[in-house]
Amino acid sequence: MIRTQTTLATRVGRWTIVAGFAVLLAFPFYWMAITSFKQTSDLYDVEHNPFIFNAAPTLDHLRFLFEETLFLRWFWNTTLAGAAVVVITLLLAVPAAYALARLTGTAGQQLGIGIFLTYLIPPTLLFIPMSRVVADLGLQDTLWAIIVTYPTFTVPFSIWLLMGFFKAIPKDLEEAALVDGLTRFGAFVRLVIPISVSGILTVVIFSFTLVTQEFVYALTFISSAEHQTVSVGVPIYLVRGDVYYWGSLMAACLLASLPIAIVYNVFLDRFIAGFTVGAVK
């Protein structure tokens, strides 16, 4: 009897917490959605109930966003930079992670932890000297500034993530391949990489989404609107002086956030596993 009461109380409590947080956490995105389709006069009337359409929905804000702003350009820049960063990250991190997981013994383990700790060094500590480095390389105000510097945070975490993947592969598989006459490197390319496709895919998504999310470097290194990425272009350049085009601004936020959020969400468990390696076994 007491048990069923507890269960009921627990269930009600759980639902209250879950529903409450779901509303609180997702509300700003609902807000972006409804703002995107509201007529301007409806948005700027304090008498109107803000949760509903008091006037008919409109596509004006979207039209403005696509025709009058650089939104598509920023989207394209982000995609381009994201693809380049992914390629660089894979070229650097995959071999390094394999070497640290398999070929260098305990020294590799130590080095792996050292590389992981560089992930904790934040852009906000490095952006001032890095702006000089970027300028000296002649890359300021180009997409290259981002392509060169973003792997500084994608590579360390990817190495850490992939080390876990490679260690989970039974050693016997590679040793059998070596006995069959493959070289170490051959076994890596023809055996280990194909087995680790899902780990590599995780790194691809992780690196790409980080490029879409980063703010400080893009803000510091890129000064003209047409070379900007989505995450800086939308909040900085869609504001004209003191005028906020809230309808278009919110549409841009939603359109840029949702695809990234959906893809990231699918792979999130892997990232969390990467974060917590060592703490939970």
Binding site: G13, I17, V18, A22, L25, A26, P28, F29, W31, M32, L43, Y44, V46, F51, L92, P95, A96, A99, L100, T104, G108, L111, I115, L117, L120, P122, T124, L125, L126, F127, I128, P129, S131, R132, V133, P151, T152, V155, E175, V179, R184, F185, Q213, F215, S231, V234, P235, W246, L249, A252, C253, L258, A261, Y264, D269, I272, A273, F275, A279, K281
Partner: protein
């Protein structure tokens, strides 16, 4: 030697019997060749700027200047004298500590609530994760609109509940205390999902039988959670807090988008002050000196992180 090592031995023995053409260290050389590109890249673009950050902080370098001159601790003395810096140092701690307390409480409750499977869990999880998986600058600009000085929906709701005056709504981002509260609230909003998912990962690793056994033995809901489940989650909560501290203490995005440090530098944190001084103000040396104040916290977190990892390996 673990059983796994023992099981591997026959294969290793077979490998030894294969005649080798190269020296015994060829695998090590291959290893070095495979990880050196990444290490060189990290040394060049993390190590070098890190060293430069320290060098800049004791120099007189500006955006326009060519060389640089050693000026000792002048920059540190000058930033310590500045009221804006002292305020931002204090704000950084207020910002980090309040955010982490809020996040810890909310994420613990939420992860316990989400632990069991139920219908619609995947959809709920997606909604809850949105603030973390969407770009933070875009989420923050959404909040800027939610906290608008005239058309804020938050004020609208509070006014309808007769909690605030509809004709004189609170200036969420224009009044120092409210602005700091808003910045803390928005950053917590961003961090709760991340901490929740990390804790969920920790919860699922606890064998179900232990809390169940406690319940059978007569421990109530609260005792089971506070005396059994939470202590077992300690290591994972540590991880969540350590990452939370790094991601909060070193972040300037929320502050930059919502308030730009205003009103009158009352919401400025160290990274944003470094940005305004070093990049917009062109005083690279002083900006670098400000950002160097992030280092002690990062070192402490790195040290604790290693201890957490080490302890987990021992047990």
């Amino acid at each position: 030697m673990t059983p796994a090592d023992a099981a591997r031995r026959p294969a290793a023995k077979a490998l030894r019997d294969v005649p080798r053409r190269r020296g015994p260290s060829s695998a090590t050389w291959l290893g070095v060749a495979m990880f050196s590109p990444a290490v060189i890249y990290i040394l060049a673009l993390v190590g070098l700027p890190l060293v430069l950050a320290f060098l800049y902080s004791v120099s007189d370098v500006t955006v326009g200047s060519e060389g640089w001159r050693f000026v000792g601790l002048d920059n540190f003395r000058s930033v310590m004298r500045s009221p804006a810096f002292r305020r931002s140092l204090l704000d950084s701690f207020v910002f980090t500590i309040s955010t982490q307390v809020i996040v810890l409480v909310c994420a613990t409750a939420l992860s316990l609530a989400l632990k069991e499977r139920f219908r619609g869990r995947a959809a709920v999880r997606f909604l809850i994760l949105l603030p973390w998986v969407a770009p933070i600058s875009l989420g923050a600009i959404g909040w800027k609109w939610l906290l608008d000085s005239i058309y804020s929906v938050v004020s609208w709701v509070l006014a309808r509940l007769h909690l605030v005056n509809a004709f004189d709504p609170p200036m969420w981002l224009g009044e120092p205390t409210l602005a700091m509260g808003s910045v803390i609230a928005v950053h917590s909003w961003r961090m709760i999902p991340f901490a929740t998912v990390i804790m969920l990962a920790g919860l699922t690793s606890i064998p179900k039988e232990i809390p169940e056994a406690a319940a059978v033995d007569g421990a109530g809901f609260w005792r089971t959670h506070f005396e059994i489940t939470l202590p077992m989650m300690r290591p994972i909560i540590n991880v969540a807090v350590l990452f939370g501290v790094v991601f909060t203490f070193t972040d300037m995005t929320v502050v930059y988008i919502l308030t730009r440090g205003g009103p009158y530098d009352t919401t400025q944190v160290l990274p944003s002050l470094a940005f305004f001084t070093g990049v917009l103000g062109s005083d690279l040396a002083e900006g670098a000196a400000i950002s160097v104040f992030l280092v002690p916290i990062l070192v402490a977190v790195a040290f604790l992180m290693l201890r957490v990892a080490h302890r987990a390996e021992v047990t």
